[in-house]
Amino acid sequence: MLLTRQSVELLAPVGTWEVLEAAITAGADAVYLGGKRFNMRLHRTDTNFDDKKLTQAITYAHARNVRLYVTVNNLISEREIPGVRDYLKFLNEIQPDALIVQDLAILELAREINLTVPLHASVMMNTHNEHTIKALMDYGITRVVTNRELTLSQLSLLRERTGVELEYFIHGDMCAAHSGQCFHSGVVFGQSSNRGRCLKPCRWPYQLVDTLTGQAVAAKDPGPYKLALKDMCMYTALPQLIQSGVCSFKIEGRMRTADFVSRIVRLYRKALDRYIADPNGYTFDATDWQELYEYRSRDFSTCYALGNPGASSIGYTGEREPRFFSQAVKEAGVTGSAAVLVPNTGSDNPSLRLRPALAVRVADLASLTSAFANGADIAYIGGEAFAPGKPWSLEDIKAAVKLADDRQVQVIVTTPRITMEREAGELEQLFAGLETLKPHGLMVSNSGMLRLAKQTSSLSIQTDFSFNLFNHLTAAWLKDNGASKATISLEATYEQITELAKHSPLPLEMIIHGAIEAMVLDHCIPSAIMAGTATHPCHDLCSNRHYSLLDSAGERHDIKIDQYCRNHILFAKDLCLLPHLAALMQAGIVNYRIEGQHYSSELVGIITAAYRAELDKLAAGDTYVFDKTIIDRIAGPRQLGIGAFRYRVSR
């Protein structure tokens, strides 16, 4: 394939008019910017464009042959939908070159209003495999901003298999966790990173401690900022990047100054042009590199582009950390000052007369038996297996289905949250195998696996919390694509849940108890700290020890390591919404879930029994009074908390 200036697009971030002019003057082929509405980067309202400025910016860019993309990349709550619809109509009139979107609801709305502006899938859409890309392409997505955990060779494969345009971050501030799958800020502070309000808990200082003893474990601690990813910089690997088939090279930083953006654009522009003009004669320009390096914010890394970077991608000492957004806080406890939600009286909500279904996610057959014995209607099995636990074999699944059939309850097989090509291949095989084992359904975690399951399996399919379901149009999209039940986002507050439940075309399930994951990372924290590498897999450090991150508020966040060596960082406190069940029933929620995969089989039994009893009392319709002593009875080794429920009013 011959290169032209069209096949390698240099894409610059723009926050203000001044930056727009600077980026274009410096040689950007395209720019992306946000309007005042439904856009990430909401910390600073002055780094966005109002409707009039948006229109002018498009005219300005087009007059200079520069493409302009508008970010409409927030998750959308139910009450925001009318506003989004109007905004999309406005954008359709002013015709930017594309919209960068996150919420699946936008795909529904685009069809509804016959939007003619091309759509690009945001990095928040959890896109790692060809099936997700194809699912999005069915809805007119022409370009995917891929996850930063993908290597260039994985990108080449995706490009070859799907033909979609790929956009890849080449420079700037990166998340340590999988974007779109980090719930730390949203659940603890009520300020969701998926709604443009990330408070960056990954940039807090942490100590790595042994989970059992609480003692520090690193002989030589490289520094407290254990999740502080260095800035991405692909300048040193431009030839590999260009030849990978990525078509758009994206610079991060919509809150950056004109000076900062124009320097980066100018230096990359120069190198790209030199390469396109004469790839064989291309040489690395040490002077330009020096300039880029001198004006860096943080130190640089190529992150995952050339393979898992391990310790080399983390700026442990935090010396160059430009600014902070928050410090660690004690998570809200279940017995703290937050008021218990009290339902309105006198409602005749019909859902109150239904017996609520209780599902429990379990790690092994002992826990599954315990859950069923104590009143669970559904057990979720499969997906991630956390060390030292083992993945579910076909034999185990067969035994689980037998146990469920005997009790006339259900077993549903789940799939991992992050699904790269390897896992997608394994799941395709699993789905085929399940046709004879006949579990009672599948639960999938991303739109690619939804598509694959729909095409290859006869089982009924439901979707997990990782779809970040916030509104009924997203539920409609899931239904259109084969789902028969959906899980509500972990970040939704009571008010948002109530609104969603009123309008959803699908039955909704809500997670009400359990050890919840704040972040999922391809970075292995213990091996980076203790071995200084990304030796992958090490098959060693997590075989008989458990680790936690201790923050400056004294909270311990356990690290769970799965069979793919991904690290899952738990919140310090386990979710417990037992005192809020009456209000949730009132809101019309009839499917409840306990995330019990990190619990012993005994604890799974105790918690399942407690929720079963309370739900049954509520469904019986008698006068209900919550007995606070139950909280003590269901206490496990970890403290209980209430996540986003502390918020009286949601943002």
Binding site: T16, H43, R44, T45, D46, T47, V188, F189, Q191, L199, P205, M255, R256, T257, A258, D259, F260, Y295, S297, R320, P322, R323, F324, F325, S326, Q327, A328, V329, K330, A332, G336, S337, A338, D551, S552, A553, G554, R646, R648, V649
Partner: protein
């Protein structure tokens, strides 16, 4: 043609820069601006100031105390006009406010403490016990506290809550005395940058926050009485014009904030069950919802 350097610390001060440009444009002068911004990186300021000096600028407009200090520290005699410096004398930029005496002058950014105390009284008429949460390593915070203690004597009883480093905010909940009616935040980098954690604990304890840093209001403080950075910048533009016409910066008095503005957050008020007085809402320059 005059060459004017603009040395900025963060985008938070964009309004001051816009005001400065507008102040100078009104003066009928031919000027070219050379703009540099450290984007929050304090350690880059001396290098950026040096870059302006190399461009042979006739004057530097410095936004923030560290930017002003970097500009004044340059060798040679480039005049410096600064804002919104809290304490120009304490920061070593001028000898006295009336007679700066050196190569710098400008507009101080501190709102008089008496006006702040009166504002808090009007905002929270029944408040008695006020906690002052401040960065103990920030000289601006120490100055503001000293002024505020004098101004608030007789109005409130004050409890000092010093934070030495950012991580101290993580345990703020354990340090809040039980009977506080509000938290007052003097200016100070560590508190401003980690405001979300302060707001988190304040909300859990039902405490309204009055801040000195305007961006904290949309982010969860109840209110603030703050300088208008655009106006300060504009006044600096007029001072710069005097200097370009031949006046000595050392002879131009440092200006002070004369018309501070009220900012309020009605979302926070509703969350805390606080009723904002209609007269205050009318007076407010900005009301966030």
């Amino acid at each position: 043609m005059h060459n004017i350097g603009i040395l900025q610390l963060t985008q938070n001060l964009d309004d001051a820069v816009h005001g400065f440009k507008s102040g100078l444009t009104g003066q009928d002068l031919a000027v070219e601006f050379h703009y540099v911004n450290a984007d929050g990186a304090l350690h880059d300021l001396p290098q950026l100031a040096g870059k302006l000096a190399k461009q042979k600028v006739d004057l530097i407009f410095a936004c923030s105390t560290p930017a002003a200090q970097a500009a004044v520290a340059l060798a040679g005699n480039i005049p410096v006009v600064f804002t919104p410096v809290f304490d120009p004398v304490g920061a070593g930029l001028v000898k006295t406010m009336d007679k700066p005496g050196g190569k710098a002058t400008g507009m101080a950014g501190m709102v008089p403490a008496a006006a702040k105390a009166a504002f808090i009284r009007e905002l929270l008429p029944s408040a008695n016990n006020i906690g002052i949460l401040y960065h103990s390593g920030d000289s601006n915070a120490l100055l503001e506290i000293s002024n505020f203690k004098q101004a608030a004597a007789g109005l409130f009883s004050l409890v000092e809550l010093p934070a030495d480093k950012a991580e101290d905010l993580s345990v703020l909940a354990d340090r809040l005395p039980p009977n506080l009616d509000a938290l007052f935040l003097p200016i100070g980098r560590v508190i401003e940058e980690n405001f979300a954690s302060v707001a988190y604990y304040a909300e859990a304890a039902n405490l309204p926050i009055i801040t000195s840093h305007a961006p904290n209001v949309p982010a969860g403080a109840l209110g603030a009485l703050v300088a208008n950075h655009f106006e300060l910048g504009r006044a600096c533009g007029a001072q710069a014009a005097q200097i370009l016409a031949g006046a000595e910066p050392g002879n131009i008095p440092v200006g002070i904030v004369e018309h501070p503005e009220i900012q309020l957050n009605t979302f926070v008020a509703a969350n805390l069950g606080i009723e904002l007085s209609p007269s205050l809402l009318v007076k407010a320059k900005e009301v966030f919802e």
